[in-house]
């Protein structure tokens, strides 16, 4: 009788020893795929949609120029005009030259000419400012650019 009872109580407890293996596997996956957020975006950006886009070829050669309205929390201080953000702060068009020079400096000699400037621009931005930025980039000889967009389906 006693023996019978004991047998019924035994539930199918599964082994947890392989759990750590699974967790480690996941851990390595995330460690490998992770990219640290290197900058805090201070402007509101809703990228435009486009279907004819390709992935960025080399992330290490890419520098980002962010443009859009300041975040709502910052609007009382900075207003609602379109702002240009380079690295971690608002900048003006005149700072682009130094920005490009600094980014070039970080690259090896062979890659200096391959520096790509990716535009992260809010869809509500007016083309006037965008063109000003493009003109400044031409003056800095930073000719490779990329308009970032969200993937849309081909219709």
């Amino acid at each position: 009788m006693k023996l019978n009872k004991k047998k019924k109580k035994m539930s199918g407890g599964f082994s947890t020893s392989s759990m750590s293996d699974i967790v480690f596997m996941l851990l390595f996956f995330f460690m490998v795929t992770t990219t640290m957020r290197d900058e805090e975006i201070m402007v509101q950006i809703k990228l435009p949609e486009a279907s004819e886009i390709a992935k960025l070829e080399r992330k290490d050669l890419t520098s980002y120029i962010n443009m859009g309205q300041p975040l709502p929390a910052l609007q009382s201080q900075f207003g609602t005009d379109t702002r240009l953000q380079l690295n971690d702060s608002y900048k003006t068009i005149n700072d682009i030259r130094d920005f490009v020079a600094a980014k070039r400096e970080q690259l090896s000699e062979a890659d200096k000419q391959k520096l790509t400037i990716a535009f992260k621009i809010d869809e509500g931005t007016k083309m006037g400012v965008v063109t000003d930025v493009k003109q400044e980039l031409r003056r800095c000889q930073a000719l490779k650019i990329n308009y970032l967009a969200n993937k849309a389906n081909r219709n």
């Binding site: 947890t16 759990m19 750590s20 967790v23 480690f24 996941l26 851990l27 995330f30 460690m31 795929t33 992770t34 990219t35 640290m36 957020r37 435009p48 949609e49 486009a50 279907s51 004819e52 886009i53 390709a54 992935k55 960025l56 070829e57 992330k59 890419t62 790509t116 990716a118 535009f119 621009i121 809010d122 869809e123 509500g124 931005t125 007016k126 083309m127 006037g128 965008v130 063109t131 493009k134 003109q135 980039l137 031409r138 003056r139 000889q141 930073a142 000719l143 490779k144 650019i145 990329n146 308009y147 970032l148 967009a149 969200n150 993937k151 081909r154 219709n155």
Partner: protein, 201 residues
């Protein structure tokens, strides 16, 4: 005689540590894949070079103008964005050799021999008040036209393989036949009306 026990590390907490690390990476990771349209800006021409530039014949230019109200004008006619792709396609291909559409010239392309290459240039002009969204929509339509033309050409020439499945050299040859010629003028209110040409190889 006491049994000599080998010292063992308690592995029970290893999973906890791994979980801790795992949650850290889970939180800090960003999986966003940045995608975009690559373009190449034209270098600023020298004073002497500017004079050398040969004038492009009127028939070879498709004028696309987006005004400050995000309305599209193609050769001074209003048009919906969705129709721009077909307009650009017929403009580049010029299937009936219409004298009002771009001329073609024979060109030696590596791997394909001599092929008639269109001299078409799409001129894109915006106002300072044009929205970036509209600009990207127009760029996208033009790109779509080029991609479809390149795809069709590739399917005909390379045993039914679309452009995306070709090797790097074959893609370059196709790009040579249909080079992306988008010329961007500065926005109207910017003063100078100099032509700014951007092409992607």
């Amino acid at each position: 005689m006491a049994k000599r026990s080998t010292p063992e590390i308690n592995a029970g907490s290893m999973a906890d540590i791994a979980f801790l690390l795992l949650s850290f990476f889970l939180l800090t990771t960003t999986m966003d894949q940045n995608e975009g349209m690559p373009r190449r800006l034209p270098p600023i021409p020298d004073e002497e070079q500017q004079q050398d530039d040969t004038e492009i014949h009127r028939r070879n230019i498709l004028q696309v103008h987006v005004n400050g109200l995000d309305r599209l004008l193609v050769n001074s006619r209003p048009m919906e964005v969705q129709l721009l792709k077909d307009e650009v396609k017929t403009f580049i291909l010029n299937p009936n050799d219409d004298p009002a559409k771009p001329e073609k010239a024979p060109k030696e392309i590596e791997g394909l021999g001599t092929i008639m290459v269109s001299k078409a240039v799409v001129s894109l002009q915006t106002d300072r008040a044009t929205s970036y969204k509209m600009y990207m929509a127009v760029q996208n339509e033009i790109m779509k036209a080029y991609n479809e033309i390149r795809d069709d050409f590739a399917i005909n020439r390379f045993n039914g393989k679309p452009y995306g499945e070709l090797t790097e050299e074959e893609q370059e040859a196709v790009r040579g036949v249909f080079p992306l010629n988008i010329s961007e003028a500065e926005p109207r209110d910017a003063g100078k009306g100099t032509q700014v040409k951007t092409t992607r190889k």
